[in-house]
């Protein structure tokens, strides 16, 4: 039918069927011009460039298994009596949501596997996004022209957290219900509108009869829909910008070196999808996740110790746990600082990392495109800030599980909490200073290596008895790789008097920028990379020590 519609005499009856179909499609979709630039698109090889694929594939796995789960799940809070096959809950009153989740877990063949793949993939999806984001951060891949894609990725991470949270709440079990209760309490703490927001979200008082149905449409439609759009945009931009690459021989800012999409990356990336799916399916086969039957149905007057959210919400749990109980009552109103401050810091922690690329580009004033990645050591201040942020995040994660730290390491829960309170402020500072020192040390070592060669570990005795270590000079490839990075000069506050002799006003933002710039690129904040002259002077002399 399609070929009959094709008027081109060239195609009729002569070309193979596949070509004819492609011709047909090209006449309507213009696929050839699309394929021209993309079919042999080059992708560089590096394991860390595949972290994003881990995320994309686990997202697809989540969608596949999620659709399956919706076929059996009833998003309703009507109370029913359980008559399924799990004995310890038979006769128990529970919501239909919980009942249908038990049904999926015990009575639908393969239902438990789908639930476990769905949940494990969600945890891995968020872990993957976190690591992917850190990879992009520490290699400076967020620089121009990729700032917007960095924001897309960041939004995917944040939306992923909330999609995860709403999904975790759907079975209406005692653990997730406790999490929802916490959310309700946090919303109530919002000044002026808190009670209204809470009533609107829950359709009245907590827990009401509505939140599972509402979370359901948010979890399966609203948020994943936005995420799918963002992910497609993210991918289009990756294709459009072409992938970044590490410095090395033959690699420049003007090219990208690697293997073509067809066939190598088609096979590698396509195969990687099956590998990711296979690994997650295996985990779901051997490790149990979220056994809601052991937790029982939600009741607002019941609770279990060790009540925690899934890991990606753990840092917000840490924030709320270490906060002192501040509460201010004035003029007949209550300002619940003990809850509201964590609620405000929560987005700030995330926004801090999201806006970093813009701060850095303002400090450097660099307007050029960057496609060669930084080694973390060559950007000591950025690396230090990134590690400081991670330290903050990890401290909060520890705080979010303070009770388990206490029981498993025989500590006092109060001591753990006090530690988190202090380390929240001190930890990032220490981490920053230590990381920066380490980076500078590594830079110095690179410099030594370039100028004096690689230490071979071979000790040689000279004729006059002196012992020296043999240094092996580096190849040009290595020399190039180690000196390819760009080093910024600290920004100066330009001349304060212009060419007409008029004094210019120096703004505070300009002063701040100069200060930050010298903190980034000033004398003690980066090790000057060796110059050609230095190298020649040393190598033309008597060599290596």
């Amino acid at each position: 039918m399609s070929t009959a519609a094709n008027e081109s005499p060239r195609a009729r009856g002569k070309a193979p069927a596949g070509e004819r179909v492609a011709d047909w499609a090209d006449g309507r979709l213009g696929i050839y011009s699309l394929a021209k630039s993309n079919m042999r698109k080059i992708f560089p090889d590096h394991w860390s460039f595949m972290l994003g694929e881990v995320c994309m594939y686990s997202f697809i796995i989540i969608i596949l298994t999620g659709v399956y789960l919706t076929l059996f799940f009833h998003p309703s809070m009507n109370e029913v009596v359980y008559h399924g096959s799990y004995v310890p809950l038979q006769g128990q009153l529970m919501s239909e949501a919980f009942n249908s989740t038990l049904h999926i877990s015990f009575d639908v063949r393969g239902g438990l596997l789908m639930r476990q793949i769905h949940h494990w993939a969600a945890l891995i999806f968020l872990a993957g996004m976190f690591v992917h984001m850190m990879r992009v951060f520490f290699t400076g891949a967020f620089r121009k022209p990729r700032e917007i894609n960095w924001l897309f990725g960041f939004l995917l991470f944040v939306l992923g957290m909330f999609t995860g949270f709403t999904g975790y709440s759907l079975p209406d079990d005692l653990l997730s219900g406790t999490g929802v209760r916490f959310m309700e309490g946090a919303i109530l703490s919002v000044p002026i509108v808190g009670t209204y927001l809470s009533m609107f979200l829950f359709g009245g008082e907590f827990p009401g009869h509505d939140f599972v149905a509402r979370f359901y449409s948010i979890h399966i439609l609203l948020l994943p829909g936005i995420m799918l759009g963002l992910m497609v945009g993210h991918l289009i931009l990756v294709f459009y910008h072409k992938h970044t690459q590490f410095a090395g021989p033959g690699k420049t800012e003007k090219n990208v070196v690697g293997m073509p999409l067809l066939p190598v990356y088609m096979a590698k990336a396509g195969g990687f999808f099956f590998l990711v799916f296979g690994v997650i399916a295996f985990i779901a086969a051997v490790a149990q996740i979220n056994p809601i039957w052991a937790m029982g149905p939600y009741r607002p007057d019941q609770v279990s110790t060790g009540a925690q959210p899934d890991w990606y919400m753990g840092f917000s749990e840490g924030l709320i746990r270490f906060m002192p109980g501040w509460e201010i009552n004035i003029w007949g109103h209550t300002l619940v600082l003990g809850v509201f401050i964590p609620l405000v810091i929560f987005p700030l922690v995330l926004v801090a990392i999201a806006v970093y690329p813009f701060i850095e580009s303002w400090v450097t004033g660099d307007k050029s495109e960057h496609h060669i990645l930084d080694r973390p050591r060559n950007a000591p201040t950025r690396t230090g800030l990134g590690v400081a942020w991670m330290t903050l995040y990890l401290t909060l994660l520890v705080g979010g599980g303070n009770d388990l730290w206490a029981t498993h390491f025989h500590l006092s829960i109060n001591a753990v909490t006090y530690f988190v309170r202090i380390f929240f402020f001190v930890g990032p500072v220490i981490a920053f200073l230590v990381t920066k020192r380490i980076c500078l040390g590594l830079q110095r070592r690179d410099r030594e290596k370039v100028l004096h060669g690689r230490e071979t570990g071979i000790i040689k005795r000279l004729p006059h008895g002196e012992f020296i270590e043999v240094h092996e000079p580096l190849s040009q490839e290595q020399l190039h790789t180690l000196t390819a990075h760009h080093q910024y000069e600290p920004a100066e506050i330009g001349p304060v008097v212009d060419e007409n002799g008029v004094r210019r006003k120096v703004g505070t933002s300009e002063k701040l920028r100069a200060k930050l710039s010298s903190a980034y690129y000033g004398e003690d904040n980066q090790i000057p990379k060796p110059t050609v002259d230095e190298y020649k002077e040393i190598t033309s002399g008597h060599g290596h020590h």
Partner: protein, 352 residues
């Protein structure tokens, strides 16, 4: 590093010899980019037998995947859903879940492993460089776009006809308000819902365990009991909403141990009734330590001293647990002498 990794000629003496004529090609700039290194052949590229071996491995992996899918289908059809097996070191687990998961994992993983092995050993591994092109448009294109835009804007007259512009912005700004108002149906106004619970004067305290009204003599020192208001049954339509506010924690202290005067006044022979709902964010708090009289919240570790008006002694909670004033009715049962005097649960703006 094993010894065969370093061939004889690369050992130090020879290296010393090679020094001076290092592989730095560009004398002018030793740091210059030497360009892509020449392609090196893989074993499979030069040895047809190795290539055949790779081919067989790939085909084997794909075959294993097919077999695993058959096994998956067989497991799906054959294994009863309630069969439990013991697998070391995992323990007792569902045979169906384990069989389906492992076969699915093998079926998927082998496809992936086959494809990747194929790509790595048999497809070309020649590295190719692709040029990048500037993303920014050329000045000519930029000028053309700007001119087009200005022309279009001028033709629309948006800048000139202020009346149209302003009313259009007004209309666009207002129309989303309809959506905002539609959301108003999501819930009722809070009014004083958070201020009241089911407790009222004369309501008996019913034991959650036995569903019987409590007598003072039932409650021993050092024991912990949970109570709900008389008339609230699990099957009630609004049980969840009511118990979320009315849940009660009852302990008995020696009256001499009660430090807070009001607490003592509101107790009955040392029996005190506190809200079970944490004042932080509403977890049911009931980790009662009978020797210290402290009660800990399992969610965020707020700690309250039940012998001292349930004031906060640790953690993020902002105020004491509300106490319910109790007494004994004419039949000798514990009863509430009124509702809580303050809202139970998490604090909120209107709480005051």
């Amino acid at each position: 590093m094993s010894s065969q990794d370093i061939p004889e000629e690369n050992l130090p003496a020879e290296q010393e010899h090679a020094h001076g004529a290092v592989s730095v090609a560009d004398e002018e700039n030793p740091f210059a980019d030497p360009g892509l290194p020449p392609h090196e052949h893989r074993i499979q590229d030069i040895d047809e037998r190795a290539a055949k071996r790779s081919e067989r491995v790939v085909a084997l992996l794909f075959t294993v995947s097919m077999l695993a899918t058959v096994a998956f289908i067989a497991s799906y059809l054959a294994i009863p859903h309630d069969k439990s097996i013991f697998v070391f070191p995992i323990g007792h687990l569902s045979a169906l879940n384990f069989a389906l998961g492992v076969t699915l994992a093998v079926a998927l993983f082998c496809i992936g492993a086959g494809a990747v092995h194929w790509a790595r050993t048999l497809m070309s591994d020649v590295e190719v460089a692709d040029d990048r092109h500037a993303i920014e448009a050329s000045p000519e294109v930029r000028a053309k776009v700007m001119a087009d835009f200005r022309q279009g804007a001028a033709e629309s007259g948006l800048g000139r006809r202020k009346l149209i512009r302003n009313t259009m912005f007004g209309a666009m700004a207002m129309v989303p308000l309809s959506g905002v108002f539609l959301l108003g149906g999501l819930g009722p106004a809070p009014k004083d819902k958070l201020r009241h619970t089911m407790w009222a004067k004369g309501k008996r305290l019913v034991n959650m365990n036995t569903n019987q009204p409590l007598r003072p003599e039932d409650v021993a020192v050092g024991s912990l009991t949970f109570a709900k208001p008389d008339g609230l049954e699990e099957t009630s339509e609004d049980f969840q909403n009511e118990i979320a506010k009315a849940a009660l924690m009852i302990v008995r202290l020696q009256p001499d141990n009660i430090k807070d005067k009001r607490e003592l006044d509101w107790s009955h022979q040392g029996i005190v009734a506190f809200s079970k709902i944490c004042t932080h964010v509403g977890c049911p708090i009931s980790l009662y330590e009978q020797q210290t009289h402290h009660v800990l919240c399992p969610c965020h570790q707020s700690t309250f001293d039940l012998s001292d008006g349930a004031r906060v002694i640790f953690g993020p909670a902002g105020h004491a647990l509300p106490q319910l004033r109790i007494g004994v009715d004419s039949d000798g049962y514990l009863e509430a002498l009124g509702d809580f005097e303050e809202p139970v649960g998490p604090a909120f703006w209107e709480r005051g």
